[in-house]
């Protein structure tokens, strides 16, 4: 859709997803790494568990569809080359600490002098200014400052962190939205601007009803873990099945009655629904007011029922009955998921130097007009130096000189 656009992607893992989304939408995204490779290439997991900078699956995942060059922007020659590249670019994306680019003389004011309508997108833990902007952080620290960590975990235990980094995902995706907005504005007016994304803000942006609950009821939403609290009882929401776990909330009324009636029918078909369950009026059942005794009477036979079933049967029946119950998918389940298969969600991408193909998500949106597919693997270190530097008039001899000077 935006195949005429070019982005220079200077981000590390804090900002990878931004460039990935733009690349999938068709932009020519050039990943710029320091000579020798970006430190984020050491983030695992690794292909065949070989810890090597060109075998990081983390790097592969978020840098496919990007080309790659090496450039030391802390060297004067490197900055001059960057400025040449900026003339050919629509977007510059970066995730350096606030002020770092300014100090090098390549912050937004400098870049906009080189190319008036340039869009600079900065992705940092807390944003470019404000009381926390220079704070040191790590995903567990940032997530703590978003409200999500506090609410995650069992009620009688410490908050539990999600072990795969998330704040960078919210911010990276927001970076893509902000860049596209700024681009739309530029196409309308010719004006460029600076997009300032904060990982804390992007992640704290969605806390469901926690903020209004505090504002209107003075209630602080706590962790509830495998149980869910209502006004009057606690209800299981993570259930065991024969080969894994099932996620399911007992909710009546408009949102949940259909699921409960169907579940009881399903149980009854296997002779596992008792008279109490069969007599329930789910349309008028209000889980916010049901007392603990009632919740326990409902839960017991359901618990038994799930324990006797396999994940695959639960998934199949839930889909056929169109109800809101699902087994927890493992990575293997997802790679074989019938829904994802039906939509050709997975694609195989060639990695010739590893003599293999690797499975990737194909596309995040299906467009009737444009292909948004993952087309090629992430770049090797400096893979496109010759190609891209050639475009701005550097010949092979220049590259040899720059290589020896530690610039590329």
């Amino acid at each position: 859709m935006i195949s005429g656009c070019r982005a220079l992607d200077l981000t590390d893992d804090n900002g990878f997803l931004c460039g990935k989304i733009l690349a999938d939408l068709g932009a020519d995204v050039i990943k710029i790494e320091r000579p020798g490779g970006d430190p984020s290439r050491r983030i695992g997991p690794f292909w065949a568990d070989v810890p090597h900078p060109e075998k990081s699956l983390y790097w592969f995942a978020y840098n496919s569809n990007k080309r790659g060059i090496t450039l030391n922007i802390e060297a004067a020659d490197g900055r001059e080359i960057l400025k040449e590249l900026v003339k050919t670019a629509d977007f510059v994306i970066e995730s350096f600490p606030p002020g770092f680019m300014d100090k090098l003389g390549i912050g937004y004011p400098a870049l906009s002098r080189i190319r008036k309508d340039i869009i600079l997108t900065s992705i940092t833990p807390f944003g470019q200014s404000g009381p926390y902007h220079n704070y040191q952080t790590s995903d567990i620290v940032t997530m703590g400052m978003t409200g999500i960590l506090y609410q995650t975990g069992e009620s009688d235990r410490p908050p539990e962190h999600m072990s795969i980094p998330q704040a960078c995902m919210h911010a990276g995706a927001d970076g893509a939205v902000g860049t596209m907005m700024a681009y739309y504005h530029r196409e309308m007016t010719g004006e460029g601007q600076h997009v300032d994304v904060s990982m804390q803000q992007s992640t704290a942006w969605f806390l469901a009803n926690a903020v209004p609950l505090w504002e209107l009821n003075g209630v602080v939403l706590k962790r509830s873990g495998s149980f869910r609290w209502s006004l009057s009882s606690s209800q299981r929401q993570v259930w065991q099945c024969r080969d894994g776990y099932v996620f399911f909330n007992i909710v009546g009324g408009r949102t949940g009655a259909k699921t409960l009636y169907e579940l009881v029918n399903w149980m009854d078909g296997k002779g596992m629904a008792d008279d109490y369950l069969k007599s329930m009026d789910w349309d008028n059942f209000d889980m916010w007011r049901a007392d603990q005794q009632m919740v326990d009477r409902i839960s017991k036979p359901i618990e038994k029922f799930f324990q006797a079933l396999d994940k695959s049967e639960i998934a199949r029946e839930a889909a056929a009955r169109q109800i809101s119950i699902c087994p927890l998918s493992t990575m293997e389940d997802l790679l074989n998921d019938p829904q994802l298969k039906a939509r050709s969600f997975w694609t195989e991408i060639e990695h010739p130097e590893l003599n293999t193909k690797i499975t990737y998500p194909r596309e995040f949106v299906k467009s009737s007009e444009n292909a948004c597919e993952t087309r090629f693997r992430a770049p090797l270190i400096g893979e496109h130096n010759e190609e891209i530097y050639g475009e701005i008039g550097l010949d092979k001899q220049d590259l040899v000189t720059l290589k020896q000077a530690g610039v590329i």
Binding site: L149, Y150, P159, V195, D196, F206, Q322, K366
Partner: protein, 409 residues
């Protein structure tokens, strides 16, 4: 409230939005906050589920009193239309003919039932862009399954990453977590589609699955599964290559501070802060691998220090020494957070039923075209007359007749 005075990026753009619950409104927020006329198609016969969700102003239920609904819908218009009335389809089509985009996030089948598929919309407006954003996408064996937050997150495998190694997998604490994932992907794609239309004159259909976009947030683990056959281990709060790494209890009720040490230098700084400089070179703790072996002892040492201090004190003293640390904030603390205030995450806006009420603001900043609070979340049907007379060009007489026929219920 402060009226927006600057021009918005999407001024003049009209979006007819059959959006409901959370996913649709969050997607539309990116457009409404930047000037687009986002017209939410609603009906009192079957109100948006958030309109009938707690918490309510003063605890009194009411269609315009839900804090959940009103938190997310600043700057949007509400158009009330009874889709069962014989005139409804014609009115929608008139609106479509004036629109740039039609958006919806129902389970597939609802728009089909009304005859509002992309093919039909195209007949009315050849360059229309239609964004469909259901739980599982428009086709496939799960397409008709209802998609509620916690269920979708489990289906996408997210709880595998939460919990103790010997415990069970746990849901993300914000249970409809995936609801905020697809809106970003959808908004980026929709802006790209608008730009493409502006340049080529071609509209399009965008089919986006909430389930599929959620997988982009755990992509490396999926590649690890595909390549190495590995399932993600549950790690509690520990990290294989950083010690200490965790959430530490502080002074007060259920108060905690995260601390993460990724280098020897940070370890030395932490030791200075807690007044245990002899631990810097202690052979049990002097390298990351040694610290990993003695992680439990280290955690106990840190707790001895944190337990007598507020998490704010712990954060301030650690940060002053360059050690990553942060208060584990609850929703009350988030609404007061000085950094988030600095960035206008929340907009206090006067609302006719709610009084001065916190509406959600932007998730990022644009230096020249900031998101602006213009109007509070709409009352149900608040803009029906405005849209009919000002956008559709109905005469007052025509409008009054339709009102009399119960079309706008």
């Amino acid at each position: 409230m402060s009226k927006g005075d600057k021009k918005g990026i999407f001024d003049g753009l009209i979006i007819t939005s059959f959006c409901w619950a959370i996913v649709g409104p969050l997607t539309m927020k990116f457009f409404a906050d930047h000037g687009a006329t986002v017209i939410r198609m609603e009906t009192a016969k079957r109100p948006c589920t958030l309109r009938i969700s707690t918490p309510y102003k003063d605890g009194e239920p009411g269609i315009n009193r839900s804090g959940y609904f009103n938190h997310f819908s600043a700057n949007m218009y509400s158009f009330s239309l009874n889709m069962d009335s014989p005139q409804a389809l014609e009115i929608v089509k008139r609106l479509v003919s004036r629109s740039d985009v039609v958006m919806e996030n129902f389970t597939p089948g609802v728009m089909e039932k009304w005859g509002l598929t992309y093919d039909e919309l195209k007949k009315v407006k050849p360059d229309i862009i239609m964004l469909r954003q259901s739980g599982f996408g428009l086709w496939g064996p799960y397409a008709q399954q209802p998609a509620f937050g916690m269920i979708l997150a489990a289906m996408a495998g997210l709880p595998n990453f939460i919990g103790e190694p010997d415990g069970i997998p746990l849901p993300v604490g914000v249970s409809p977590y995936t609801d905020c994932i697809s809106p970003r992907f959808a908004a980026a794609a929709l802006i790209a589609a608008l730009d493409y239309r502006n340049k080529t004159g071609k509209g399009q259909l965008l089919d986006l699955s909430q389930f599929e976009t959620a997988l982009y947030f755990i992509m490396p683990a999926l590649l690890d599964g595909a390549v190495n056959g590995r399932e993600p281990p549950r790690l509690g709060n520990s990290c294989p290559y950083a010690v200490p790494h965790g959430v530490y209890p502080c002074k007060g009720d259920d108060r905690w501070c995260s601390i993460a040490v990724h280098s020897d230098e940070q370890w030395a700084n932490l030791c200075r802060v807690i007044g245990k400089t002899d631990y810097i070179d202690d052979p049990r703790f002097n390298t990351m691998r040694n610290r990993k072996q003695h992680e439990e002892i280290i955690n106990e040492l840190i707790i001895e220090w944190t337990i007598n201090l507020t998490p704010e004190k712990v954060m301030d003293r650690m940060q002053a020494a360059g050690v990553p640390a942060g208060v584990v904030k609850n929703a009350a603390e988030i609404s007061e957070d000085p950094q988030l205030r600095h960035r206008n995450l929340f907009w206090p806006i006067q609302h006719p039923d709610m009084g001065l009420f916190t509406h959600l603001g932007p998730s990022f900043e644009l230096s020249k075209t900031p998101a602006q609070p213009r109007t509070p979340s709409p009352r149900l049907g608040e803009h029906t007359e405005y849209v009919c007379t000002r956008i559709l060009g109905m005469t007052d007489k025509e409008f009054v007749e339709l009102v009399g026929a119960g079309v706008f219920e």
